[in-house]
Amino acid sequence: MIQIIAFYLFAALVIASAVMVIMARNPVHSVLWLILAFFNASGLMVLVGAEFIAMLLLIVYVGAVAVLFLFVVMMLDIDFAELRAGFIANFPLGIAIALILAAELIFGIGAYQAGQLDLGVADGRASPMLEASNTANIGALLYSDYVFLFEAAGIILLVAMVGAIVLTHRKHPGGRRGHQDIGKQNRRNPDEATVMRQPEVGKGVEL
């Protein structure tokens, strides 16, 4: 009973906050609603017994992706009103695509329910240890059977990082432009920093 109540609570909140993501006028509020949606989705994951995915949702999506969104929204000068201007014009197209996707989903699931689709049977290579939790199972597989792929994936991330640095890092030979030089600032004195001029009436100052 309590599970059903929790399910409907989480599900309703996910949908409500997802709607708010696209309805909110302020983009920062949108991101905050998105974070709420992620939290409730991870609650749903806990309900179906996938606590590892629930943790991933929180750590990866809330901790990294949503914060990145926030940074982008706050740092970049994006005119969201302009982005939203085409909303009404594109609305029918969006509805059409949504309907097509929904129809495809219904077809697919319907065909599966009617026994028309022969999905593969898991080969049992990664069959879980029954007494252990999800997380323990994934860890046991990831660090034993699949350690080769796990390490290789690590190298891919390293390559991506090296690439980002190689393509953007610049050495500034004469110090960075616009960089504060504190010593120079402290050496300043009023005599060389300011000038007194007595301009004639009706004429400008020549600097």
Binding site: L119, G120, V121, F148, I155, V162
Partner: protein, 488 residues
Amino acid sequence: MSYASSLYLTGAEVGLSLFGLVLLLVSAWSGPRSGRLLTVVTVAALVAAAVFSAHLFGRASGGDAVVRAFGDLYRADAFGSFAKVLIYLATAAVLVVTPRFFAQVGGYRGEYPVLMLFNAVGMGMMVSASDLMTLYIGLEMSSLSSYILASFLRQDDRSAEAGLKYFVLGALASGIILYGVSLVYGFTGTTNYEGIRAAFDTNFSTGALFGVVFVLAGLAFKVSAVPFHMWTPDVYEGAPTPVTAFFASAPKVAAMGMLLRMAMDPFAGEVDSWRQIVIFAALASIVVGALGAISQQNLKRLLAYSSINNVGFILIGLAAATPAGVAGALTYLTIYVAMVVGSFTALLMLRDPTGNNLETFADISGLSTRRPALAWSLLAVMFSLAGIPPLFGFWGKFVVFQAAVQADLVALAAIGIAASVIGAFYYLKFIKVMFFDEPMREVEASSPMGHWAVLAICVAIISPLGYLLTIPLGEWTAQAAASFVAAM
């Protein structure tokens, strides 16, 4: 499965990765000046990895040796080891001719050889993968470092454009492959090649066919087969010339090896489903590659079309779908690598007296009077690419067409031979411009020993001397192709 034997079988990849990590630290601490030294060390490491792969090749072709590592995620069989020897040697050869190019244009850093090393690791994983996950991770490792290498000259607009174009289209192709992989996994319940094959033998549904087609389409992008070739001329032209030389050689071997293994191992029971796709891609690549090259003035663009054209011939070997076809495709690949590395090395040796690289037809006119040795080497490479008999390039085409005829694909072979005549046109144009036109530009009078050494080795392989190799090459490729039969 024991970890010791798994680590031994994946020794080339593990060793190169660890070595790459150390070199990365060295380059981070010693700054951009270490580039040249790191290149030399990297070449040595790649040659060592090639020797180790050759050792694994001998071991695997002996018979009953254990070739599966990490619970059949990876197979160090004869096919994978043969392809890896080619990949590592091609990468090393390209690295030898790299630093001089960057010495002129600037921007060389220690990260370049390190990225090449990781790229080689990824390519090794691609050809040895016997699981869809290994395949994808290897593919991504190689592709990601390739995107970075393409835009390595970040001050140069064309290089940046090439990198961006390659990245966007490459990411799309990776997505298509991944989508196909997920469909195949969904309909078979396994990502293991053997398991997929067994599942397909019992039940091959339409959904699974979609998966197979998606995977093949994505792989066709990676080998730049028509109709997925649009990125090739732009990326080849924009990327720094040594990087282009690399793209045309080692990653082609890796992607083609991956495609051969996919088609002949997990999808081997479904030959009738994919054969028409491969036949279409082969013919279209030959024709588009030949026709597209005719009007090109830029030599890098021309060689890009030439590589599209050559991929078509290799795909004919795959279309045969027999061990002889696979062996023929591998033979062709071996000769192709020698031809491509040779042609790009010659291109890198073409510089005007101030050291700027020359890359258009106008620049090479009358080259035979200024640099006779270079002109004659280019002549050999071009005749070989055109498949003119005394040179070894002919042998590659011959074995591929022979396999196609034996597999009752006479029409395919006939059209392929007819189209290769069109291709001969622009290779002959090279010769005409170099030998019969008036010299128009001053060219640099001499080139360093490293370039000459690489060019000499490539020319020696494709010269009629190469025919001494036909018997051992035939044996090696047959053994490599036999690793699929053993898996059947």
